[in-house]
């Protein structure tokens, strides 16, 4: 039976892992290569590297870090951040990424998902959506959650999947950093609209939040989190054992 996946997300700026609370107030955590290796050895099913660097120097540092990680970590690596063109896909895939996650780039250029899926296959294209309720409607936000695009989220995500996105990371801005659980209502709406894997992001504060996520929404394929893993509040191995005790299929290593 296919297992549910637990995915730590590493936000990387200038070659270091950082984590924002509600996308602001960034704190340094650790070295991406060391952290990736640690997570891989402790049961992470996949890793997401999110490049939040703005400068070209930082980009070079990032691809260097990515290459070093991919040389020693043999679980799937997803890379996001600053992916605006098919050339950006090429740049990170050559450095060892397995999947590429697009966010603002797909908002600015609606054909990016289709072009990338045709060239690299849908399995390689992940759509990452930052979504927030505005007057009761789910809206897609751009620029790291700062700008309301006005796009209706469920329709926009469905369109991306139709264009070839092979997975969806749904990050709820409303629950991100609050640590009171995943946004079950938002996740349910998206799961019911698409037939590709959906990865829940934003809001995990404790192990129980993951149990609730997978028990209430069997269609969710994976749970993603950052700070609770980086600061050691939740250990991945312990989390997966707890989920397994609750009847959720897990890969225990």
């Amino acid at each position: 039976m296919i297992t549910k996946r637990i995915i730590p997300c590493l936000d990387v700026r200038d070659g270091r892992v950082v984590k924002g609370i509600n996308f602001e107030g960034i704190r340094d955590v650790s070295s991406p290569v060391d952290l990736a290796d640690f997570y891989s050895r402790n049961g992470a099913d996949e890793l997401v590297f999110y490049d939040i660097t703005a400068s070209s120097d930082g980009r070079r540092l990032f691809t260097d870090i990515l290459r070093k990680t991919a040389e020693k970590v043999f679980i799937p690596l997803t890379v996001g951040g600053g992916i605006n063109t098919v050339d950006d896909f090429d740049r990170v895939l050559k450095c060892g990424a397995d999947k590429v996650s697009v966010n603002s780039g797909a908002i600015r250029n609606p054909s990016l998902v289709k072009e990338a899926a045709l060239r690299y296959g849908s399995q390689c294209v992940v759509i990452s959506a930052d979504v927030k309720r505005v007057d009761g409607v789910f809206r897609v936000f751009a620029k790291g959650g700062r700008e309301n695009t006005g796009l209706e989220a469920v329709k926009w995500i469905s369109d991306c999947v139709r264009n070839g996105a092979g997975e969806v990371v749904l990050n709820s801005i409303d629950t991100d950093g609050v640590k009171k659980g995943f946004d079950l209502e938002m996740l349910d709406a998206v799961c019911n609209a698409v037939s590709v894997p959906v990865i829940a992001s934003g809001g995990a504060g404790c192990m129980e939040d993951f149990v609730t996520l997978f028990k209430s929404l069997p269609k969710v394929d994976a749970g993603l989190a950052a700070s609770i893993f980086h600061f050691g509040e939740v250990g991945i191995r312990e989390l997966k054992e707890e989920l397994s005790r609750n009847g959720i299929p897990m890969r225990l290593v």
Binding site: M1, I2, T3, R5, S40, D45, R67, A70, E71, K72, F74, I75, P76, L93, K94, C95, G96, A97, D98, Y120, G121, S122, Q123, C124, G166, E167, S195, V196, P197, D221, A222, R251, V253
Partner: protein, 203 residues
């Protein structure tokens, strides 16, 4: 030395890195002489069957690879590289494979219930069938990483493991010196590296 056949398809970075992680020299090459001098071959692949088959034909390597394998050189096909080993493929049409293992590649949708997602993406457990030399360092029930919409059918005599995803899907095959894994050993953590180690230790 292991040669990873480069016919312009797929991301070979992780594959090469995973061989160096187990202390095996691996080269990525499209040079028939390099392939001939290798102790074993890896046939990678990702994407659509038709495109990969065309890329392999265009590379001009089909005859040399088939000669090497028929003369006993071990070859491991991974993911789409495994699917290329069979007689026939029915992804968006009907195509000929390399014919190294009897069987046909068909959509997993024909085997699994309609409410399951296609492709299967994620970690799933190996259920053993015929014994495999690839699995000498792992145990039945170990998890490996899959990303696929198609799988091999009609190859029960050669199937070494299946995986359960609403139905039984072919996870690996073996026919003499020809091996195939539908999953990605280079993305399957320690279990995957143990499978690759068993492969490179074969004489």
């Amino acid at each position: 030395m292991t040669a990873i056949i480069d016919y312009g398809v797929g991301n070979l970075f992780s594959l090469r890195s995973s061989f160096s992680a187990i202390g095996e020299k691996a080269v990525v090459s499209s040079d028939p002489e390099v392939l001939a001098s290798a102790d074993r071959l890896v046939l990678p692949g990702v994407g659509a069957f038709r495109d990969a088959r065309k890329a392999l034909d265009d590379s001009g390597l089909v005859c040399s690879v088939l000669d090497l394998v028929k003369n006993g050189k071990p070859m491991l096909g991974i993911c789409l590289g495994m699917q290329l080993l069979f007689d026939k493929d029915y992804e968006d049409g009907e195509y000929d494979g390399l014919g190294l293992i009897p069987g046909a590649v068909r959509s997993i949708a024909e085997t699994i219930p309609a409410d399951l997602k296609v492709p299967q993406i994620g970690w799933n457990a190996l259920i053993y069938r015929n014994p495999s030399r690839l699995y000498r360092y792992i145990r039945e029930g170990d998890h490996v990483y899959f990303v696929h919409s198609y799988h091999a059918t009609g190859c029960e005599a050669y199937t070494t493991a299946v995986t359960e995803y609403g139905g039984m899907l072919t996870a690996s095959v073996e026919n003499g010196n020809v091996f195939g894994t539908q999953f990605h050993p280079e993305k399957s953590g320690d279990v995957g590296l143990r499978i690759l180690r068993a492969f490179v230790e074969m004489k």
